[in-house]
Symmetry: C2
Subunit: 111 residues, 2 copies
DNA sequence: GCTTTAGATAACCAACTAGTTAGATAACTA
DNA sequence: TAGTTATCTAACTAGTTGGTTATCTAAAGC
């Protein structure tokens, strides 16, 4: 995998299990046990997903007795949202220009 | 890789070479030759990146004599942007609630 | 001190990724 | 027809991913 932070964030989000974990965390901090409950998957598998999310900076780890509650870290998601929104707008403009061009062609044909 | 379309789009975007290719295509259609020019990488390597982008639905392939010009397809990027923006907002609300709560605690302490 | 609970780590495996070189296909050019 | 250009496919390699089971650590409860 590429090592830049945007690539790490995109890669971390490219898995439905990890996106579901983030969705759960959006309702508040949760322990590993709570996070793994919905998935038909071993604990270590969830631990690995959490490590991917953590290396991407999307979550952070707390410590409370024998629990390590995870919480969201918004910064990388903000970078992803900004990138996607920016490029979505550019692409749209691109397509608008194409539409304008096709419209113009039609007009010239008629004339 | 997970097979759902959102996962495929995120995975395709998780590589700086592929994001650069998309950035180039945002300025208009381009041949494989043109797309590979900026990269110190063999043609087949670029072909593979293009296949990943195509399977994610982010680009389409034209045909003109011996060229196969690629163009952008906006739909999957829109899905990515929507997902990211939606969750960014939820996370922010989450953090706002946390801030409110901490503010409230401070107020109660003072009282 | 022993048991239980939460979680991490290690070792392994199958599948996939990102690159390579070599060779095939298909269309233009002289 | 022969040669050149654009592109794709095949076969290979090294490294990564996503899962498993087995084992370890640390805190809590009795």
């Amino acid at each position: 995998m590429a090592t830049d932070s945007l690539s790490a964030a995109f890669a971390a989000l490219a898995d439905p299990t990890r996106r579901a974990i983030l969705a759960r965390l959006a309702t508040g901090p949760a322990t590993v046990k709570e996070l793994s409950a919905p998935f038909p998957m071993s604990g270590p598998a969830i631990s690995k997903h959490l490590r991917v999310l953590e290396r991407a900076g999307l979550i952070a780890q707390g410590r409370e007795a024998q629990w390590r509650p995870r919480t969201l870290e918004p910064q990388p998601l903000k970078e992803v949202a900004d990138w996607a929104e920016k490029h979505r707008k550019i692409w749209e403009k691109n397509f608008q220009r194409l539409d304008d061009y096709l419209e113009q062609l039609k007009g010239e044909e008629r004339a």
